[in-house]
Amino acid sequence: MKRIYLLFATLAILLQACGEGVINVDDIEYQPKISIEGFLIPGQPVDNIKILRNFPVDANLNRLDLTLPTASVVITDLQDNSEHVMTYDPDRYTFYDAANSLAVQPQGSYRLDVSATIDGQSLSAHAETTVPSSGLDIVSVNYPSLQYRERDTNNNILNFKFDFQRSPGTTAYIMTAVATEAGESSFIYDNPFEEVEAEDVVDDLEDWRYESEWIQDLPAEAGVSSIELFWFDFWFYSEYQVVLFAVDKNYIDFYRTYEEVQEIDGNYHPPVFNIEGDGIGVFGSAVADTIMVNVTR
C-alpha cells in the first residue's frame, strides 16, 4: 500500500512539473482612455492635435476604429480665457483650429479639454501647458558635414556638437534629426550594431530615419549650452534636418518615460503624463530652431 501511495505521489509530482503556464487575457482588465497628443509651438498653426482611443491588448486593430471624430476638443487660452474649439480633419485623423483663432505665444498658458465616448463610457480629460519663452537659437555647429564614424588625428570619433542660446526658464531640450534622403540605397549597412537587410530598411523606413537626443536640468537663465548628435544617431548617408526644441515639463516628462514602462522582470509601471482625468499621452509645448547637417560616406 505504501508503495502505491509513493507511486501516486511521484506521478502527481511529475505531472505537476510538466506542461506550461497559460495566460488568460480575459482576466486583464481593460479601461478605456482618451489618447492625447498635442504639441503647441509658437508661430505654427494648431493643426495636429491627435485624439484617439486606447484599445485592449488583445484587440484586432484592423477591425477597431481608433479615431474619435465626435470628441469635443477645446483649447483655452488662459491669458484671456478664450475658448477655441478644435475641428476634426477626416483626412489627417487629427483635430485642428479651423478658425485659425488661436495664436500660440511664448510663455502663454493653454488648457486642453477633451471629452469623448468610448465603448459607451463618457470620458473626459484635461491638461495645461505653459509655452517656453522665446530666445532659443542654435548658434553654431562644429562641423556642417561629417563622414560616418569619422575620426580625428587622435582616432577619436567625431560627433556633431551644437551650441545654442537657451530659452530662459526652460531646462529641458530635445534635438531631433530626420534624414531627408532616406532609402535602402543610402542606408548604412556596415554599422557596428546589427546586420540589417534592405527589406527591413524599407519596412521600417520611418523608424530608421528619425532619431532624437535630449538633455535636462540645464540652467534656467539665458546663456549658451551644447547638445550633441552622435554617430549612432545616423542610419543613412544623407542630409539631416535637425530641430532643437526647448520643451515644457509636460513634454519632457512624457518623452523620458512613455517608452520606459516595462522593467527588466517584465513588470509595467505608469509613465508620467501630467494629464488629469481619463486621458493618457501628452499635451505639451515648445519653441524650436532648425539647422541642417550632412552625413557622408
Partner: protein
C-alpha cells in the same frame, strides 16, 4: 564609563563567587576528529543534570556551575558519531574537555532514543526560532543549475522565495533582497552575485557552515529588516593535507587545506568559469564573459585561550561585449564588478565563563562600466566598509547567559556616472556605532527566555539614533514538543537602487530617506516525530515602516546638486530616487525534515501574504509586490539508493565503496502578481516624428496573477571510494519536466493582430560534472 566599571566589577565578583562555591564548570572546544575543524552548533549535554549547551561560532561550549561529581558528557552533531564520556567535575575548578567527533559514514534509518544520544526535540529546542542550519554537504546534494549554489539551495526552504529562475536573490518572509544581511566570516558582503544574479558569490566547496535567520534574530544582529545569512568558511585541516577539485559545465574549482605547524591550518579555494576559453572562442555570438572567486582562510591557535583567524575573499565578473562581430569598425562596452572581503578575528577565552570574539573586517564592492567610444558614458560604483566589532559571552550560571558587544562601521560609498549633458557624483561617508546587550535566562530546564536591546547610531548627512528591543522565549512543553515565540524591532540604514544590467547601487539613510523599520512577531511549534523527524510550524507577522522602492520615473524628479563650469548638471544626492511606503507580511510555514538515514530531506509548505502601501504607487492603494507568492510547496530529498533498498528489505545498512545517490528537488508555487498593460495606444515617437508608435499603458499595479510555478529537478551521483581519493561524477537535470514557467508576458501587434506571448524561465537544463577529493 560608570556602567562599564559596574559591569567589570560584576564579572569579577561572579568569577570569585563561582569558585567560592562547591561547584565547578565544564568547558572546551569541539572538533572534527578527521581534520581538526571546530564544529558549530554541537549539542553538549549532561543527562544526569538535564543541562546542556551548544557550541558557538568558534566551536566553544561551557556548562557553568556544575555541582561537583561524576557525570556523563554527551556530544551530538549531525553526521558525526555521538560522543559519550565520563567526566568528573571538581569543586571550584573548571574541567576543560576538548571533544573530537568522528564522522559517521552511515547513519541508521532510525535513531534509537537511548541515554547516550540527544533527542531531536532537544536539538530543535536549542536552535533559535526561525533559524535554519545547513551544511556544505546538504547544500551540494540539492540539484541546481550547473552546480551547487548556496543561495539557490536556500530558495528550497519554506519562507524563502526566488523571484525567478534567473536570480539567486532571496525574498525572505515577504522581505526584499536588500533586507538580507550577508556575512562571510563575519564580514558584510554587499552584492553577493555572479553572472548578473544567476549564481551566488559563495563557493560551496569552501563553506563549513551556514546559518540563516528568517526573522526575530537576537540583539547581536541588526542592520537589516528581514534576515541574516551567516556563512563560515572552512578553517583548514590541521591534521593533514586535503583537497577537492570539481569541474562542471559552468566552472572548474579546487579547495585545498593543510596544517600550519602544530597549531594552525590554512584553506584556500579558487573557482573560475571557462566557457570564454572554450565555447565563446568557437561561437562569435557568445560574449567574452567570465567570473572567478577565491578564498583563503588560516588560523593560528596561540594557546588554548587565544586563537587568531584570518579570512580573505575576492571575486570578479568581467564582460567585454561587442555589438556586431561582423562589422568592420566594431563597438561595444566593458563591464566588471566584484567583491573583496577580509577579516581578522581574535578568539579569546578570558576565563571559562567569559568568551569573546573580536574582529576587524573590511569589505569592498566595485563595478565599472564603460561604453567605450560608442558614447561617452562611464559608471563607477564603489562601496567600502571597515568594521571593528566584538562579541562577548558571559556564562554567569546555568540559568543566566549574558551576551554583549559593540561594532563601529565606517562606510564609504561613491557612485560616478558621466553621460552627455551631465554627470552623477555621489560621495558619501557614514559611520555607525552599535552596542547591544542580551540576557538569556533559563529559570528551569524547560524554559529559555531571552531579552535584548540594540542601540544604533548612524551618521550620514543626518544623524539617526535608534533603540531596538528584542525578545524571545522557548518552552519545552513535553519531551517531544517545543513552543517558541519571538518579537523584535529592526532598523535598516542601507537602501538599494536596482540597476537593469549592472549590479545594484547602495545608498544610505540621509536627509531625503529615513531609516527603514520592521517589527517581527513569530510563534513556533516544534515536534519530534518518530524519533528522527523534525516537524516545525511557524507563524509570523512583519510590519514595515519607511521601506523604499526605486522610483522608475526618477529621471523626472532629479535635481542637480551642483553644476559643471559649462552649466551641465551634476547630480549628487538621492532626491527623487525612491518611493517611500509601509507594508506588512504575514504567513505560516510548515516543514518536516529528516537529517539522518538513507533518505534525507524536507517537505515544506508556506503561506505568505505581503502588501505594500506607497503614496505614489497604485494611487495610494494597497498592492502586492512582485515577489509575493501565496502558497509554496518544497520537497527536497536525497536518497542513498543501495541503503534505501536495504532499509526497505530490512537489511543492515553499510558504507559501500561505490555509492549511488538520487537527489530530488520539487517546487510548486502559486502565481506571482504582475502589472500588465491595461491597454495600448498610438503616439508619435517624439516631436515632429514622421510616424506613430504603439505603446502600452499599465493597468492596476500587480493586479494580475501569473500561472503557478512548478519544477522538478533531479540529480544522480555516483561516489567511488579509492584508497586515498574519491571520485564523484554526477548528472543533474534542472526542470526535468521542461515545464514552461512564465516569467512575464510579452505584448505585441503583428499586422494589426494581437500577438501575446510568454517569456518563460529556464527550460530543461541537463548538466554533468565530477568532483574529486584527495
Amino acid at each position: 564609563m560608570k556602567y562599564l566599571r559596574i559591569l567589570c566589577l560584576l564579572i569579577c565578583w561572579q568569577c570569585v563567587a563561582l569558585f567560592a562555591q562547591n561547584n565547578g564548570s565544564l568547558s572546551g572546544f569541539v572538533y572534527d576528529d578527521s581534520n581538526g575543524e571546530a564544529l558549530i552548533g554541537v549539542n553538549v549535554y549532561i543527562p544526569e543534570l538535564e543541562r546542556g549547551s551548544s557550541t558557538n561560532v568558534s566551536g566553544y561550549y561551557i556548562i557553568p556551575k556544575v555541582p561537583a561529581g561524576d557525570y556523563t558528557l554527551i556530544c551530538d552533531y549531525l553526521g558525526y558519531r555521538t560522543y559519550t564520556a565520563k567526566i568528573t567535575i571538581l569543586p571550584g575548578e573548571n574541567t576543560a574537555v576538548a571533544v573530537r567527533l568522528s564522522v559517521d559514514l552511515v547513519q541508521g534509518e532510525t535513531v534509537e532514543v537511548v541515554a547516550d544520544s540527544v533527542r531531536v526535540s532537544r536539538k530543535l529546542y536549542e536552535k533559535e526560532i526561525s533559524k535554519i542550519e545547513l551544511s556544505a554537504a546538504q547544500i551540494s546534494r540539492i540539484p541546481q543549475v550547473a552546480e551547487a549554489d548556496l543561495l539557490r539551495s536556500l530558495q528550497t526552504l519554506p519562507g524563502i522565495l526566488p523571484v525567478s529562475d534567473y536570480s539567486t536573490a532571496l525574498y525572505v518572509r515577504g522581505g526584499t533582497p536588500d533586507q538580507n544581511l550577508y556575512l562571510l566570516d563575519g564580514t558584510d558582503v554587499y552584492n553577493p552575485e555572479h553572472a548578473f544574479g544567476l549564481f551566488s558569490t559563495f563557493n560551496t566547496d569552501a563553506i563549513k557552515h551556514i546559518e540563516l535567520s528568517k526573522g526575530g534574530f537576537n540583539a547581536s544582529y541588526g542592520g537589516r529588516l528581514s534576515s541574516i545569512l551567516d556563512v563560515i568558511n572552512l578553517d583548514g585541516n590541521r591534521e593533514q593535507f586535503e583537497g577537492k577539485a570539481s569541474i562542471s559545465l559552468l566552472s572548474a574549482k579546487t579547495t585545498l587545506q593543510m596544517p600550519l605547524g602544530e597549531s594552525g591550518a590554512i584553506s584556500g579555494s579558487l573557482r573560475r568559469t571557462y566557457f570564454d576559453q572554450t565555447v565563446a572562442r568557437a561561437i562569435d555570438e557568445i560574449p567574452d564573459y567570465y567570473f572567478y572567486d577565491g578564498n583563503v582562510k588560516a588560523f593560528w591557535e596561540v594557546n588554548p585561550k587565544n586563537k587568531i583567524t584570518a579570512s580573505f575573499y575576492g571575486g570578479r565578473d568581467v564582460l567585454d561585449l561587442v555589438f556586431n562581430n561582423e562589422a568592420t569598425d566594431q563597438a561595444g562596452f566593458t563591464l566588471d564588478w566584484g567583491n573583496r572581503t577580509g577579516s581578522v578575528r581574535w578568539t579569546r577565552v578570558f576565563n571559562p565563563q567569559l568568551f569573546a570574539n573580536f574582529w576587524v573586517t573590511g569589505s569592498r564592492f566595485s563595478s565599472n562600466f564603460d561604453l567605450g567610444e560608442t558614447i561617452p558614458v562611464t559608471e563607477r560604483n564603489f562601496v567600502s566598509d571597515i568594521t571593528v566589532k566584538g562579541n562577548l559571552e558571559y556564562h554567569y550560571s546555568p540559568k543566566w547567559l549574558m551576551k554583549f558587544g559593540f561594532e563601529q562601521k565606517n562606510l564609504h560609498m561613491t557612485y560616478e556616472q558621466t553621460f552627455p549633458g551631465g554627470s552623477v557624483d555621489v560621495d558619501q561617508r557614514q559611520t555607525s556605532v552599535i552596542g547591544y546587550l542580551q540576557n538569556n535566562w533559563r529559570p528551569t530546564p524547560n524554559w529559555d527566555i531571552e531579552g535584548g536591546i540594540r542601540y544604533s547610531y548612524f551618521s550620514s548627512e543626518k544623524d539617526f539614533n535608534d533603540i531596538a528591543p528584542r525578545f524571545s522565549a522557548k518552552y519545552r512543553l513535553t519531551e517531544t514538543i517545543n513552543l517558541k515565540a519571538a518579537s523584535g524591532v529592526f532598523y535598516q540604514y542601507l537602501h538599494r537602487i536596482p540597476q537593469t544590467f549592472a549590479s545594484d547601487i547602495w545608498t544610505t539613510s540621509n536627509q531625503y530617506q529615513d531609516q527603514s523599520k520592521a517589527t517581527h512577531f513569530i510563534l513556533g511549534f516544534q515536534k519530534e516525530v518518530a524519533n528522527d523527524y523534525q516537524f516545525e510550524v511557524e507563524g509570523f507577522y512583519k510590519e514595515y515602516m519607511n521601506i523604499y522602492r526605486f522610483n522608475q520615473n526618477f529621471i523626472t524628479e532629479l535635481q542637480p546638486g551642483r553644476r559643471m563650469p559649462n552649466g551641465d548638471p551634476v547630480y549628487t544626492n538621492t532626491l527623487g530616487l525612491f518611493h517611500s511606503g509601509d507594508g506588512e507580511s504575514r504567513g505560516v510555514e510548515m516543514m518536516i525534515r529528516k537529517d539522518v538515514g538513507s533518505v534525507t530531506g524536507w517537505l515544506g509548505y508556506s503561506y505568505s501574504d505581503t502588501e505594500y502601501q506607497f503614496e505614489d504607487i497604485n494611487n495610494g492603494e494597497n498592492f502586492a509586490p512582485r515577489h509575493d507568492r501565496r502558497s509554496t510547496v518544497n520537497m527536497v530529498a536525497n536518497i542513498d539508493i543501495k541503503n534505501a533498498m536495504r532499509a526497505m528489505r530490512g537489511d543492515l545498512q553499510h558504507q559501500d565503496r561505490g555509492r549511488w545517490t538520487l537527489g530530488l528537488n520539487f517546487v510548486y508555487a502559486s502565481g506571482q502578481p504582475i502589472t500588465t498593460p491595461g491597454s495600448g495606444y498610438l503616439i508619435s515617437d517624439g516631436p515632429g516624428a514622421p510616424d506613430v508608435e504603439l505603446e502600452y499603458f499599465p493597468g492596476e499595479t500587480n493586479a494580475y496573477r501569473l500561472p503557478y510555478y512548478s519544477r522538478l529537478d533531479l540529480s544522480l551521483n555516483y561516489r567511488r571510494q579509492f584508497t586515498t581519493w574519491t571520485m564523484e561524477p554526477y548528472l543533474q537535470v534542472f526542470n526535468i519536466g521542461n515545464r514552461k514557467n512564465v516569467w512575464f508576458v510579452d505584448y505585441d501587434f503583428d499586422n494589426g493582430n494581437s500577438d501575446i506571448s510568454t517569456v518563460n524561465m529556464f527550460p530543461i537544463l541537463p548538466t554533468v560534472g565530477v568532483n574529486f577529493t584527495f
